[in-house]
């Protein structure tokens, strides 16, 4: 019972914090681009504004279109429950491992892609098609990211992965390669430059936004919240695999530990903003090479791990 209580508590906390992380990334970008930029709390205001608006649906849409935003948010929240965010193991860490989390991320993408096609417009289909190919290429990269630690731990369970990464040499070639791949994967999974541009509605370059073009009001609020939560989840996932300290490995006093982990997240989120500001949008058909580089880097890391080069 306590476990389920912890799970509900963590889910609510994640939903509350996710917009703040998004705001932090936006602030970083604004600062780097020399803009004044919106405040840290702007994502909350945007969500509240959307929530109060009328919901307008396109004519051809079926129940899939209506169910998709709710499913997407539920799926992402469920995925956060088995990834160690603040503590290891996570509230539901006992039943979900790395493969389950990757599977849930794929399911979220699947549901939203269906919704994109459900609108019966060229934009929806275009977004779905592009999102699907990015997803198909990110999935191997994501697996490759965890390969060195899976091999070291001999398991795909989160506690074992975190412990394996925490116990390995802190500054090693394996981790260095992994960080490069992790950056690429997190930029792709959160729909950021150079893969996708979250701040544009220019038809020809959109991926994720094109797919969701027909969503408005509360439905859009749910999807935005799901997207922000997913962003947090991806950051946590990459951090657990590559810089697990605070969650695993480093013994900190109970009062300091959550603060330290939150600070780590803030640093990672700011890092994501910096990385995005430094890159230009890649041409769509250059993406396979970019994502392939991530898979290749992590596979190289895994091979080094197996051969005992640390």
């Amino acid at each position: 019972m306590a476990m389920w209580g912890a799970a509900v508590g963590q889910a609510l906390a994640v939903l509350l914090v996710a917009p703040l992380v998004h705001g932090l990334i936006q602030r970083t970008k604004a600062a780097l681009q020399g803009r004044h930029g919106p405040g840290l709390l702007q994502p909350y205001f945007t969500l509240i504004k959307l929530w109060r608006r009328q919901d307008i649906r396109p004519t051809p849409a079926s129940w899939i279109f209506v169910a998709a935003p709710r499913l997407a948010l539920g799926i992402v929240v469920a995925a956060t429950l088995s990834v160690p965010l603040l503590w290891n193991p996570a509230p539901l860490g006992w039943d979900g491992d790395f493969v389950v989390v990757v599977g849930l991320l794929a399911l979220e993408r699947y549901v939203l892609s269906l919704a994109g096609l459900d609108t019966g417009t060229p934009f929806g289909g275009l977004g779905s098609s592009r999102e699907s190919i990015v997803g198909a290429l990110v999935e191997p990269a994501l697996f490759a990211l965890a390969l060195p630690w899976m091999v070291l731990a001999g398991s795909t369970a989160w506690p074992a992965l975190v412990a394996a990464s925490a116990s390995a040499t802190p500054a090693s070639v394996v981790r260095f390669f992994g960080l490069g791949a992790g950056l690429i994967v997190s930029l792709a999974e959160t729909g950021r430059l150079p893969v996708d541009n979250p701040d544009t509605h220019l038809e020809l370059t959109m991926i994720h936004e094109a797919m969701l073009l027909e969503y408005s009001g509360p439905q859009l609020a749910l999807i935005s919240l799901a997207q922000m939560t997913k962003q947090l989840l991806v950051l946590a996932l990459v951090a657990d695999l590559l810089v697990p300290w605070g969650v695993g490995g480093l013994a900190l006093p109970p009062g300091v530990q959550p603060v330290a982990v939150l600070a780590k997240w803030a640093a990672l989120a700011a890092g994501l903003g910096v990385a995005e500001s430094l890159s230009a949008k890649l041409r769509f058909f250059r993406l396979p090479g970019y994502l392939g580089a991530a898979a290749a880097l992590s596979s190289a890391a895994a091979v080094l791990q197996v051969w005992g080069v640390r």
């Binding site: 051809p60 169910a67 699947y110 289909g125 190919i133």
Partner: protein, 666 residues
């Protein structure tokens, strides 16, 4: 037990007889159901511990066919009979719109097809196995030829017949080698004696068996017949062929590879793993480029057999490398995926048939908006599509999870070289999963959602219950086996350790009734994760519908945004357009060919007509089978010179043969 066997045989026979002679197909369907039920009951009894081992006399004493029910056979009999029952129910309604003669042919041949598949898995000696195997091939060939008046069907049937007999020749050669070496035709004696054979002979047998069963299971590059033959058969037969007949070949591979031959050199497992990787990635890539729904599904069978082969390969490696736990988990993964694929692939073919029955045809680009018009067919298609994409909480995810686990274990324990193979396997499986999900977004999204693209799709109506209920039952099983993964994983692990003679290594904690817990590393999946998932979704949905109602106006339905214009029916994204980025990104494999012709008036900007034609190069037909075919024909031309028509020369041949035989064989 023996009475169940005889009544099953009798009922299937009666069904074939009724199908051939009676005008009304209902009795034939009922008899086929009875046959399926009898064999299913037999299998359940066998799985619960009862044993059947009989010799059916065919003549004087040595001429008898031995049938038995070890747990592995019983599992496959249950699969064949269960899926067969649902397909028979569907088929009874589906053939109603066929011409009289075709209906009779299908109703006669389907029970015989089911019976021969059942007998292949029950066979315990060479004669029984080969007779049933050949009957299975011939009945399925006859069913493929149902629309035999169309030339492309004849062509497809011919390719199928040739490939299936090339496979049968390999099997016959392997089995004769075994018979010659052990002096017996009995599987039990083979299993006892085969491990003592010379290594070279065992490897030769293994390769022949892999070729034989691999061609039936459609492993790349032996898959070329499948995307031709499966789509042209009646849909429930396509479902049986893809869902069940390929699995009979998997059964054969397990039977000979594990039970009879036992642990072999490392390269056996590596070869099977490599074939699995190749089949899964190429199968799903070719499926993506396809927009004939049934051909697309046929290519997905190649992909899924590849995933099963990956499990089998890891199991062979594990057996060799003395990692019995690894071998058990890998074989469990293969068995689980075998069952899963039978369920979702049959459901998908039944749904494809229902769409065809509703008058929409097989081309995805002519569908659209079918979920609103055929709600039950649509829902079963959605569920089966999510299952085949390997997404949680459906059954495909569980078997892919188990396959991942075995590959990771191989990477951790197998040493550097095997670890590299395991990495390749993990990456290939991840890519396959992602591409399969993309492909089934295309199928469900373009086929079921959006607006109808043609008049036929607009007029589509739901099919009769006898057709959508079997598909719904299969879809329900897909969801159930995903939500409660341990229900099958536990007995399958026990079965796998029995097959691998690893009975004692499997700790009791390794499997539970509901959960799947691995015997290492603490990874597990179970209803907890899925319950959290369901709760989170339900909570979100409740929040979304309840909390907002007071603060905003009610939802409204409006025309979608079209840059200020109107959206024509054909400006929706089509399946071809959807697959476009994939064709471009994987161009190295597809080698796409396209031609665009533009007619314009006054100025090139004012186009009156644009004609687009695009296709992908059939790489295997052209570069693998093309040279082989040319070679065989050239050989035949040389061989023809022997046949001069001269009687004296023929007498000379006889003399030479006689002398040679007398010299060498005495």
């Amino acid at each position: 037990m023996i009475w169940l066997l005889l009544s099953g045989l009798g009922a299937y026979g009666l069904a074939a007889l009724c199908g051939a002679c009676l005008r009304n197909g209902r009795l034939a369907t009922l008899a086929a159901l009875a046959g399926g039920a009898a064999f299913a009951a037999l299998a359940v009894l066998a799985l619960l511990g009862a044993r059947l081992d009989v010799r059916l006399p065919l003549g004087p004493p040595p001429f008898a066919l031995r049938l038995w029910t070890p747990p592995l056979s019983a599992l496959f009999v249950l699969l064949i009979s269960g899926v067969g029952i649902l397909a028979s129910v569907y088929g009874g309604a589906y053939v109603a719109h066929f011409a009289e003669q075709k209906r009779r042919a299908v109703l006669t041949l389907t029970p015989l097809f089911l019976l021969s598949m059942t007998l292949v898995t029950l066979a315990a000696d060479l004669a029984a196995f080969l007779i049933a195997w050949e009957a299975m091939s011939l009945t399925s060939y006859a069913l493929v030829m149902t629309d035999g008046e169309r030339p492309e069907v004849v062509r497809a049937g011919y390719v199928y017949l040739v490939m299936t007999h090339v496979g049968a020749v390999c099997l016959l050669a392997a089995f004769l080698l075994l018979t010659g070496a052990t002096g017996s035709m009995d599987f039990t004696i083979w299993a006892g004696a085969a491990s003592a054979l010379a290594p070279g002979l065992r490897s030769a047998i293994f390769v022949l068996v892999l070729l034989g069963f691999g061609s039936k299971a459609a492993l790349v590059p032996l898959h070329v017949w499948l995307p031709r033959a499966h789509p042209v058969a009646p849909s429930h037969v396509s479902g049986l062929m893809s869902g069940v007949m390929l699995k009979v070949a998997v059964y054969g591979l397990i039977l000979v590879g594990f039970t009879v031959l036992g642990p072999g050199p490392l390269w056996w497992g590596l070869l099977v793993l490599a074939l699995g990787v190749l089949s899964s990635v190429l199968g799903v890539l070719y499926a993506l480029a396809e927009h004939d729904l049934k051909r697309l599904l046929a290519y997905h069978s190649v992909e899924n057999v590849g995933i099963i082969a990956m499990g089998l390969g890891v199991a062979l490696i594990g057996q060799r490398a003395h990692l019995p736990l690894l071998a058990v988990v890998a074989l469990t993964a293969a068995l689980y995926h075998t069952v899963n694929h039978a369920l979702f692939k049959t459901a998908l073919f039944l749904d494809a048939g229902s769409v065809q029955y509703a008058g929409v045809g097989r081309n995805l680009d002519r569908m659209g908006g079918l979920l609103a018009r055929m709600p039950w067919t649509g829902v079963s298609l959605l569920v089966a599509a999510a299952s085949i994409s390997g997404l949680p909480p459906f059954n495909g995810f569980v078997s892919e999870w188990l396959t991942y686990q075995s590959l990771v274990r191989l990477g951790a324990r197998g040493g550097p070289l095997l670890a590299l193979c395991a990495f390749a396997g993990v990456l290939a499986l991840a890519l396959t999963g992602g591409l399969a999900a993309a492909c089934f977004v295309k199928v469900s999204g373009v086929g079921l959602l959006g607006r109808p693209r043609t008049e036929h799709a607009t007029r589509a109506r739901e099919v009769p219950p006898a057709m959508y209920v079997p598909a719904l039952v299969l879809a329900g099983l897909c969801l159930g086996l995903g939500l409660l993964p341990g229900v099958l994983a536990a007995p399958f692990a026990a079965l796998a350790s029995g097959v691998l003679h690893a009975g004692s290594v499997l700790p009791q904690t390794a499997t539970g009734a509901v959960l799947v817990t691995l015997p290492w590393g603490g990874a597990r999946i179970g209803p907890g994760a899925f319950a959290a998932f369901a709760l989170a979704v339900a909570a979100t949905a409740a929040l979304a519908s309840a909390a907002g109602r007071r603060v905003r106006p009610a939802a409204e339905v409006r025309a979608p945004w079209a840059c200020g214009g109107e959206i024509g029916l054909l400006s929706q994204y089509s399946a071809t357009a959807y697959a476009k980025p994939f064709r471009q990104v994987f161009g190295l494999i597809y080698r796409p060919v396209r031609s665009v012709q533009v007619e314009s008036a006054v100025h090139p900007f004012f186009r009156t007509r644009v004609e687009y034609q695009g296709e992908i190069t059939p790489v295997f037909d052209r570069y693998v089978y093309g040279p082989v075919l040319t070679g065989v024909l050239a050989l035949a031309r040389y061989g023809r010179q022997l046949q001069s028509g001269s009687l004296r020369l023929y007498l000379g041949y006889i003399l030479v043969t006689l002398v040679l035989l007398l010299t060498f064989v005495r």
